[in-house]
């Protein structure tokens, strides 16, 4: 018999009306459905609900004139190349627009006008790219602030920790940093907390202070390339340091003092003249 959470995950993964149940990893579910009426009944109602949610998800009224507005904005920003033909192949919801009088003078002015608008748009775009804040970037401070909360959620909430397999040191896509002196035995999906693809490794040793390492797949952050020798944040009894390496951001959160924090990392040599 599958555990309830395992059973629901498998049921939820099957698309209604699909062959998903025949996939090898669904064999335990298929067996259970064949042998257990309650499971079969639950699966049937989950599938019915799924169908309705899927149908409603796709029912979104499209505002009138959408395609026309998109084409107009494309024409506005079209650079010096040939203007985008606004005459649509078949944009469905467009009302026919009367064609302007075809005088060559007007067309010349129109093209020149579009070029000026396009050049201005390019300047604005270039300025925006260069100077506007980039909201997708994580900042080190944000990480340091948030990670203590993530750690507390992991420690105090009903976290689903998964044991690493025998001989498995880490998850292939979330490698542990070479500077880590401790080893991990459990990991948990931290994507929901971090809002990025992330896992947390439990580094707590039996009876010792609690420690967790977040590994986040993110490469735009203003963190150092090596772990800080001393914690960058030490509030609420948590020592926190973060760094990045090869497209991954590491955040180490340790309960205790600076010595405990340092004990989890191999010392990084300091180059005096670097």
């Amino acid at each position: 018999m599958m555990e309830r959470s395992e059973l629901l995950e498998a049921m939820d993964a099957c698309r209604p009306g699909s062959d998903d149940l025949r996939l090898p990893e669904m064999a335990p579910l298929a067996d259970q459905l064949a042998s257990d009426q309650v499971s079969s009944w639950t699966f049937s109602r989950i599938q019915r609900i799924n169908r309705r949610i899927a149908a409603t998800t796709r029912e979104v009224p499209v505002p009138a004139g959408l395609a026309g507005r998109i084409l107009a904005s494309l024409q506005m920003t079209s650079e010096n190349g040939p203007p985008v033909e606004v005459a649509p192949a078949n944009v469905g919801d467009e009302r026919p627009t009367p064609a302007p009088p075809d005088t060559s003078k007007r067309r010349r002015i129109g093209r020149r006008g579009w070029s000026i608008v396009a050049a201005a748009a390019c300047l604005v775009a270039a300025f925006s790219i260069a100077f506007w804040p980039r909201p997708s970037e994580l900042t080190r401070q944000q990480l340091l602030n948030d990670s203590s909360e993530w750690a507390r959620q992991l420690w105090n909430g009903p976290t689903h920790w998964t044991a690493l397999g025998a001989g498995e040191r880490e998850l292939p896509k979330y490698p542990l940093p070479v500077v880590l002196a401790a080893s991990a035995t459990y990991w948990a999906d931290a994507g929901g907390m971090v809002d990025l693809n992330a896992v947390a490794y439990d580094l707590s040793s039996g009876g010792g202070p609690r420690a967790v390492l977040f590994v986040i797949r993110e490469d735009e952050i203003d963190a150092d390339a090596t772990p800080p020798n001393s914690p960058q944040s030490s509030t609420g009894g948590l020592m926190i340091g973060c760094w990045q390496s090869q497209g991954l951001v590491y955040v180490l959160v340790v309960e205790g003092d600076e010595r405990t924090y340092k004990s989890l990392l191999k010392p990084v040599p300091v180059r005096p003249f670097a």
Binding site: L66, I70, L74, G191, D195
Partner: protein, 212 residues
Amino acid sequence: MADEASAAGRLPINGLAARDGRSDIDAASKSPAPIDLDLPRLVADHAEVLYRYAFRLTGSVADAEDLTQQTFLIAHQKLSQVREPAGARGWLFAVLRRVYLKSQRKSRRLPLAGFSFEIESVPDEIVDQLVVDREVLQAAIDELPDPYKLVLMSYYFEDLSYREIADRFELPVGTVMSRLSRAKSHLRSRLFEPEVVAAGRHSQREQGQGGA
């Protein structure tokens, strides 16, 4: 919808390059020569489906239209990357996801607890008569963090299998199944809880009247 899915290729959401769909966009350009894609035709064929998708991600008419427009603006500049007409829709979806993720840096958090809602507890008649309220559904989707929302939309909107989703986002199958289940459980709780509470009140009233 399934053809959209297969065309969509891989969209890893690991790292920014992956999160913003860059590698998915690259994946659409495998064959040697660029093809001549007609932009107005592209808009006519794909604007509506992209808008619907954008609406589910953003939950707002204005944001969805902006997102769709931005997608086509980027598509306009990078159209030469598309070398397979069949891959155009998947490529546009990937561009849209990239633009969407670029615009997000919020920290919505799905509580680790709070999924105690049991689907078995919902009376049959409520399941049978369920009419999914669009606003309630959208509000529930809006509450999900992006890693959950994108997985859920790939499942519901694009009809991708959990394996295809795992492949697209470069996630372990188990993580996809777990995120799907938690996200769906969240939707069910939002959709059914008011019904269940109302049914409970109704039944209490009936019992009260019977006893009186």
